[in-house]
Symmetry: C2
Subunit: 201 residues, 2 copies
């Protein structure tokens, strides 16, 4: 069996990345999704093992020491990381895997997984990005401005990604990400045994 | 405007490559198709400018001399080649272009057009390939065997291509080639101005 592909998907706050990914997984339930390990306390409404595994600081530092993470970051004093084992398991089963990760995490994983394919989800314009971030209405102006600054910093390195998909019309963005994932399955490096199989049948 | 992409599509006799391409152009009429220049006499049913431009030997040799061809071959004493100018025109208009070419031509073009994307259309098995080639019933056994030998020679270098698409069920093969072409439009190298456009709007 051919190994699956690791897809790194990033996008700034306001790109609608989470909604795009929801659409991708709904249409392609065969794709694996990496659950991050984090050390911050669980928030209301969060479920252990849904999007995050909530683990202790000690456990996390052990994982760092034992090289059990594909990438990790510290954010507001808490660790966030992508454990290696579930990714390997999924890829070894021949299934594609999506890791949702920020630009810093993507940079770390690219160095370790040379054949990872990275996709940047882009807002259609700065104007729309600002609207989306202010529109949430849950944060004060300062917090919104911080998010915008951070988004601009992420957009500035979008060209490090293999693909850029603009999320203007959600359905198009979902289909475009799926077309990238599906097309990848025909790449020659994933079909190493195909030529022999054809010749021997 | 971003430049279009050049797609090189090869496949041995019996791969059904022509039928696959017909399906691709029907569904994606925006894609350009390169018309080969050839020096063999026109056959019954052929139309000048449909699949080939029939030109004189002298004209062809001038094109070689003036470096006006992306690739050329001699086959049974006649020249076959892909003129550069129409390919450049199509790509400069931002349209994708398909060049149907044998493995030898693909090798020549890859050297000149570094960012060309190549797709190999593969029969599902040697058995099916043999059936398809014998099934035509228009050729004697010797001619069929020659075609099989040539097909095997082409399949042996399929791994030089970026993608391999098996043509078992025609509709799937058509859709899979289209997904490769569509996904390619989101590659970062084709969206050089996107980041600035987003930031300035």
């Amino acid at each position: 069996m051919n190994r699956g592909r690791l897809f790194l998907i990033s996008g700034p706050s306001g790109s609608g990345k989470d909604t795009v990914l929801k659409g991708v997984f709904k249409k392609c339930p065969e794709i694996g999704f990496s659950i991050s390990s984090i050390t911050r306390p669980m928030r209301e409404g969060e479920i252990e093992g849904e999007k995050y595994n909530f683990i202790s600081r000690e456990k996390f530092e052990d994982m760092i020491k034992n090289d059990e993470l594909l990438e990790h970051n510290i954010y507001v004093g808490n660790y966030y990381g992508t454990p290696k084992a579930p990714v390997d398991k999924c890829l070894n089963e021949g299934r594609d895997m999506i890791v949702e990760v920020d630009v810093n995490g993507a940079r770390q994983i690219r160095k370790k997984v040379k054949d990872a394919v990275s996709i940047f989800i882009m807002p259609p314009s700065l104007l729309v990005l600002k609207e989306r971030l202010s529109g949430r209405g849950t944060e004060n102006e300062e917090a919104v401005n911080e998010r915008i600054t951070e988004a601009l910093r992420e957009i500035a390195v979008a060209s490090d990604y293999d693909y850029i998909v603009v999320n203007d019309i959600l359905e198009d963005a979902v289909n475009n990400v799926i077309s990238i994932i599906k097309a990848d399955r025909f790449k020659t490096d994933r079909q190493s045994k195909l030529i022999n199989d054809v010749l021997n049948n």
